[in-house]
């Protein structure tokens, strides 16, 4: 028996329901087949399927015969600097093992999938609350002896298997796991479930690490992927106008023009460019020390972004339009995994209310309705299950989207344009004052969005911001700070619970004692 030989320790970090337990069993089974002493343990949390969990294995890479009866003592918990191989099914779980100090730059090999399963803390945030995954990737390389990082979910999906088999293959592929390939494959075979798919995943994982098969890109961080279908080039008549802008602004303007042609028509896109022209000019004419060239670019870009989004506000017409396109029908099929010949029933969940109705009515009619019904608007929403796979249901969508030419005459259109103009005036004005303030105001265009009550609230919040910005004689830095605070508050504001029902207090029965005798009773 070699004095040099040490226990080999493996930490598997996973999420509940990802097959970490099965992976752990495979390793135990493979080690047992090689007659290595092995111990695994876990805190599976029995049924809660979504939390972070880990499995810890120690094995002694000498057969029982070679050990001649000596029994190694294995630890039950991972410990900093003790782990030889860390395997993580997801990027943040890899990050968690790093954060807990389990990896040592001289000892630990890390194998992890770079895909993300977002934590609740990341997804409940209005806007973007995603953790910057790039940090984990960088740290992984500096805090381990060797890190093998690639998108295993992708590979698992390609092979119709679960991520654990790909991870198992990748672990063996690193060359540090002291198990034979034969033993590992046999372990998968013995488990008897989806053996073929698991073995395919195992081999793909092995190849990805051992043979350096092309590793998937590690794009995971905060930046959104580039658009695809929205990249349609703007109509050529707009090209020359867009070309006249500095290079960094052209892409966003092109996207904005495309969005508005798609939303309404070329005239509307022209209006967009006119408005942007005014903003851009304001930046150039009111040149001041307090507004740098970069400020002007940034302000124009963000204004271009939020103006395009705001001008293409979501109304019933827009929603019906987006839901009744041929690409959409195909996308639904792809997303839910329906084959081309599988009949598919699609139900849309719509709950139009007073706001939605008014958004397609002419101003006078809408104003009259608003005046009469606004106070009980919250009772007027009707939940509709619209079957858009039926001819009639789809026809409803088609009728609604056909109202598009009438849109500029609606109450909602006028209301949005009015506020847009006020906002733009404010942005233009600020470009003559201070770069930071102008940035804040351009970003404030993001405050108005969404549907129904959310949209209403956005309008209220923007009104507050514009009123702030309109105050004269304020210290600019202080004003900028206030606008920023107000903007962030508006964006972070989830549902403001304004109780609509009040109740009576609970009925409290007077305390009574069962008369036992004439003597007053004490409760002892």
């Amino acid at each position: 028996m070699s004095k040099e030989t040490k226990s080999f320790s493996i930490l598997i970090a996973a999420l509940g329901g990802e097959g970490g337990g099965v992976l752990s069993d495979w390793i135990v089974s493979a080690a047992s087949a090689m007659a290595f002493p092995v111990q695994s343990t876990s805190v599976p949390g029995v049924a809660q399927r979504t939390g972070a969990t880990n499995y810890y294995i120690e094995l002694f890479p000498l057969s029982r015969d070679e050990l001649g009866g000596a029994a190694p003592v294995f630890a039950l918990t991972p410990s900093p600097g003790r782990v030889d191989l860390v395997a993580a099914t997801e990027l943040m779980e890899a990050g968690r093992t790093l954060q807990n100090g389990f990896t040592h730059p001289e000892r630990t090999t890390l194998v992890a999938s770079t895909h993300r399963e977002y934590a609740v803390a990341e997804i409940v945030v209005p806007g973007d609350g995603r953790y910057n995954g790039q940090k984990v990737i960088e740290s992984a390389h500096s805090l381990t002896r060797k890190a093998h990082l690639f998108d295993m979910r992708q590979i698992a999906m390609q092979h119709g298997t679960v991520i654990n088999s790909v991870l198992f293959g990748a672990m063996l592929g690193t060359g540090v796991l002291p198990l034979s390939r034969q033993a590992c494959e046999d372990a998968i075979r013995q488990s008897g479930k989806s053996v073929k798919a698991s073995l395919n995943g195992f081999n793909a994982g092995f190849d990805a690490v051992a043979n350096g098969a092309p590793q998937a890109a590690v794009a995971t961080g905060g930046v959104a992927a580039a658009a695809s279908d929205k990249d349609r080039p703007a109509a050529s008549s707009f090209d020359s106008i867009i070309e006249s802008y500095p290079e960094p602004l052209r892409a966003i303007l092109r996207a904005g023009v495309a969005q508005l042609i798609d939303y309404q028509d070329a005239d509307y896109a022209s209006l967009y460019l006119d408005r942007m022209h005014a903003v851009h000019q304001a930046g150039n004419t009111h040149a001041t020390e307090a507004v740098s060239e970069q400020d002007r670019i940034d302000v124009t870009r963000e204004t271009a972004r939020y103006l395009a989004l705001w001008m293409s506000y979501e109304d019933v017409i827009r929603v019906a339009d987006l839901k009744s396109r041929a690409q959409r029908l195909q996308r639904v099929r792809d997303e839910v995994g329906a084959g081309p010949s599988d009949p598919l029933r699609v139900t849309e969940y719509l709950k139009p209310g007073l706001d939605e109705l008014c958004s397609i009515l002419p101003r006078s009619l809408a104003n009259w309705l608003q005046a009469r019904l606004k106070h009980r608007a919250h009772q007027l929403s009707v939940g509709i299950h619209l079957r858009s796979d039926t001819i009639l249901g789809f026809a409803v969508l088609c009728v609604l989207r056909s109202l598009r030419p009438l849109r500029p005459r609606t109450w909602r259109f006028h209301r949005e344009q009015e506020t847009i103009n006020r906002w733009l005036a404010c942005v233009r004005h600020s470009l003559g004052i201070d770069g930071a303030l102008a940035r804040e105001l351009s970003l404030s265009g993001n405050v108005v969005k969404g549907y129904g009550e959310t949209n209403e609230r956005g309008h209220r919040n923007l009104a507050t911001i514009l009123a702030l910005a309109g105050q004269s004689g304020q210290d600019v830095a202080e004003l900028t700070r206030q606008v920023r605070t107000e903007r962030l508050r508006a964006l972070a504001e989830g549902e403001t619970p304004t109780p609509t029902v009040t109740t009576q207090g609970p009925v409290i029965k007077p305390i009574s004692f069962v008369p036992r005798s004439s003597i007053s009773t004490r409760s002892d």
């Binding site: 399927r49 003592v73 918990t77 349609r232 041929a326 109740t503």
Partner: protein
């Protein structure tokens, strides 16, 4: 139940000399069968649920041996079962999750330990201390001391654990005292091996019944027997236990060359300690240590001679004892004082007073001890430097990552029927303002986490309603209590419902009727929807409520958020006095999927028509506000990068895990969300009529969709 244990049951039948491979808690189960127990009971809870699950499936094996087994209705019921060993020479074992289970069982345990036992009585306690534990952090040790029951804490390998079970019965019988054996969560789930022996049929069993009842006035807790029992504990049973332990040493001594110091470790922490010592170069792979070790597999009672013998001649010893108060350290100090030994005792100080002794903590503690006492013949500075290097990995990582990675606590499963109830509760709070909600123990405790944050207090299992009795009368609006069906049968019916009816509470109770104790691994309960053939009677919650006088009861399907919201609003506003109960009826989705998935697979294989449901989101309609997520938190409802070139915020997205529970659609309506949700029902293996309809519809719709595209 969560899984089938057919394979495990085979392992329970292994005979003399065969090698048992398996989980710690199954090793315990096997050891019980080898010890000749006559009866076994228990209440489920991590990490001992598998003991109950396996025996529940091992009917034939138990019948052969004549062992009676029951899945008790609560820990109190399980503990009271040990009453069988008071008057009769029969061995029994019960199990539950400590320390919460011990609290529930305490009435019976106190009486049992006062009376004493003739037959061996063993209580197997699954400890859940530290590392993601979802129970209060307390020690069982204190409980053992106050009732003078013996406490085993064996080394966490299967051979030691199995031996402790068999020795535990002997100790119990030698001292007429019930014995507790605690196993930490990782020891219960540890996979290892031990050499089995034959199962032993008990002398008295269901196959060979006791011939007559024994009456002994001294086993009744009336005076003067109670005083005699206390004296007997002190004068007879305790000395008998110590004598047994002197004659049959269960604690283990490991020699080492640096013998001017020593380490005393509770058995359960032994592997952790050796692990740390291996890292510090103080022990080899096989546990040979440079510092002498004393492993206490029996932590109560202590054997004073044994401890003073170990400490004699040593300058200092380290006590490795997790949790607080530090009973062992204090007892050791007292023993040494009485023996007039001057050995320094290190313990808390080198180690933190509170919190789990993870590998990292033990490493630091041992290094601190080495640094303080510099054992003879040891390069102490090298050890300390090594510890510092290992300890720095964490701070380096934290610095490198910048911000802590997002936490990921356990939560409701995909499609869980409790999620929609919390969505409705959150909307109720929006409608009425903040309402005090007395939460309970079960999966539904997760309602207190993001995104719901519903639940103001948790006082114990089944105590949701009872814990509202005080506050319910001091609030300006009605309060809501939550109780699971598991908690309802565990005691909530009497402590909560009966109490509220009797005292005429004007409050609201929401019962989560999902059919199982899901948090412990979906064990069956009296109102489970399907049960093994032997238990045909299924109790009904609604009938029971009516039986104890509840007048206002509404049963609402869990997934129908709109109806639930209406029922909750009614309960808040109705003028009906008394307790109002809303039963949220929806089967545990884990169990449902376990049942439904194979059926669907079979149907698909037989080419039968199957409709599967999935939800989806139109990403171009979604604005990235995520308000849908804030009333769901479903792992399947997540986010993805925004496909739009203009938008930067990620859009909501439904991933492959969706089971089509319907909550997304219900929420979209109940909370007036944006119109981006859709439900897609795919018809697999469609009939001719389905195909025809599909043909006609897709042709016409395709034409309408195509016609509308304006050139862009």
């Amino acid at each position: 139940m969560e899984r089938s244990f057919a394979q495990e049951i085979e392992k329970l039948s292994l005979g003399e000399g065969e090698l048992f491979h398996g989980e710690g808690i199954l090793g315990v189960t096997k050891a019980l069968l080898q010890s000749g127990v006559s009866y076994i009971g228990g209440y489920q809870g991590a990490p001992i649920s598998h003991l109950i699950d396996v025996l529940g499936d091992a009917r034939e094996l138990l019948e052969d041996l004549g062992i009676y087994f029951e899945n008790s209705a609560s820990e109190a019921g399980a503990a009271a079962m040990l009453g069988a060993s008071v008057n009769y020479p029969i061995r029994g074992a019960v199990t539950w999750k400590s320390t919460v289970g011990t609290n529930v069982a305490s009435d019976a345990l106190s009486n049992l330990s006062s009376t004493g036992v003739i037959g061996g009585a063993l209580i197997i306690l699954g400890e859940d201390y530290g590392e993601g534990s979802s129970i209060i952090q307390e020690r069982t040790h204190s409980f053992a001391m106050k009732s003078q029951m013996w406490l085993l804490d064996p080394r966490p390998n299967l051979a030691s654990i199995a031996a402790a079970v068999e020795k535990g019965f002997e100790l119990s019988e030698a001292s007429n005292t019930p014995v507790m054996m605690q196993l930490r969560i990782r020891a219960c789930h540890v996979h290892g091996t031990f050499v089995a022996s034959d199962n032993r049929a008990p002398v008295y069993s269901m196959n060979n019944r006791l011939p007559k009842a024994v009456f002994d006035p001294m086993s009744i807790n009336l005076p003067p027997a109670t005083y005699a029992q206390e004296k007997h504990k002190i004068d007879q049973r305790w000395p008998a236990a110590v004598k047994y332990l002197q004659e049959n040493p269960l604690n283990e001594l490991f020699d080492g060359d640096c013998d001017d110091v020593g380490i005393i470790v509770v058995g359960g922490m032994y592997n952790g300690l050796i692990g740390a010592m291996q890292q510090l170069g103080l022990a080899d792979s096989f546990g040979a240590s440079r510092i002498p070790l004393l492993a206490l597999n029996v932590v109560y009672p202590l054997v004073p001679d044994e401890l003073s013998r170990f400490c004699a001649g040593k300058r200092a010893v380290l006590m490795v004892e997790e949790g607080q108060p530090n009973h062992l350290e204090e007892a050791l100090n007292a023993i040494l004082r009485r023996a007039d030994l001057q050995t320094e005792v290190h313990g808390k100080g080198a180690f933190p007073v509170a919190g789990e002794y993870t590998g990292e903590v033990i490493l630091k503690g041992v290094a601190a001890f080495i640094e303080a006492v510099t054992p003879r013949g040891l390069q102490s500075t090298a050890v300390v430097e090594r510890a510092a290097d290992l300890g720095s990995t964490k701070s380096r990582a934290v610095a490198s990552l910048g911000a802590p990675v997002p936490v990921r606590p356990p939560g409701f499963c995909v499609g869980c029927p409790e999620r929609p109830v919390f969505a409705a509760l959150k909307m109720t709070q929006r409608r009425f303002g903040a309402i005090h909600i007395s939460a309970d123990i079960g999966c539904h405790t997760f309602g207190a986490l993001a995104p719901f944050q519903v639940g103001n207090t948790v006082l114990g299992y089944g105590l949701g309603l009872a814990s509202s009795s005080g506050i319910g009368h001091l609030m300006d609006r009605r309060v809501i209590s939550i109780m699971g069906d598991g908690g309802f049968w565990h005691g909530g019916l009497t402590s909560g419902v009966v109490n509220a009816v009797y005292n005429q509470h004007d409050s609201i109770l929401v019962i989560m009727k999902n059919g199982y104790t899901s948090a412990t691994g979906t064990q069956i309960i009296p109102s489970s929807p399907s049960q093994p053939a032997s238990k045909e009677q299924t109790l009904d919650i609604e009938t029971t409520l009516k039986g104890v006088g509840v007048k206002w009861i509404k049963t609402v399907p869990s997934y129908e958020v709109g109806k639930m919201l209406l029922a909750l609003s009614d309960s808040m506003t109705t003028t009906t006095p008394g307790l109002k109960v809303v039963i949220a009826d929806g089967e545990c989705q884990l169990e449902r999927q376990r049942r439904v998935r194979p059926l669907i697979a079979q149907s698909l294989a037989r080419k039968e028509r199957v409709v599967t449901t999935r939800f989806g989101i139109d990403s171009d309609v979604c604005t990235g506000d995520h308000s849908c997520i804030r009333i769901s938190g479903c792992p399947s409802l997540t986010i993805k990068p925004n496909p739009s070139a203009l938008r930067t915020d990620p859009v909501a997205s439904v991933n492959q895990g969706c089971v089509g529970c319907g909550l997304c659609g219900e929420n979209a309506h109940a909370a007036t969300l944006c119109p981006s949700f859709y439900k897609a029902e795919i018809i697999r293996n469609p009939g001719w009529f389905d195909r025809l309809k599909h043909q006609v519809r897709s042709t016409v719709i395709g034409w309408m969709a195509g016609a509308a595209r304006v050139a862009s």
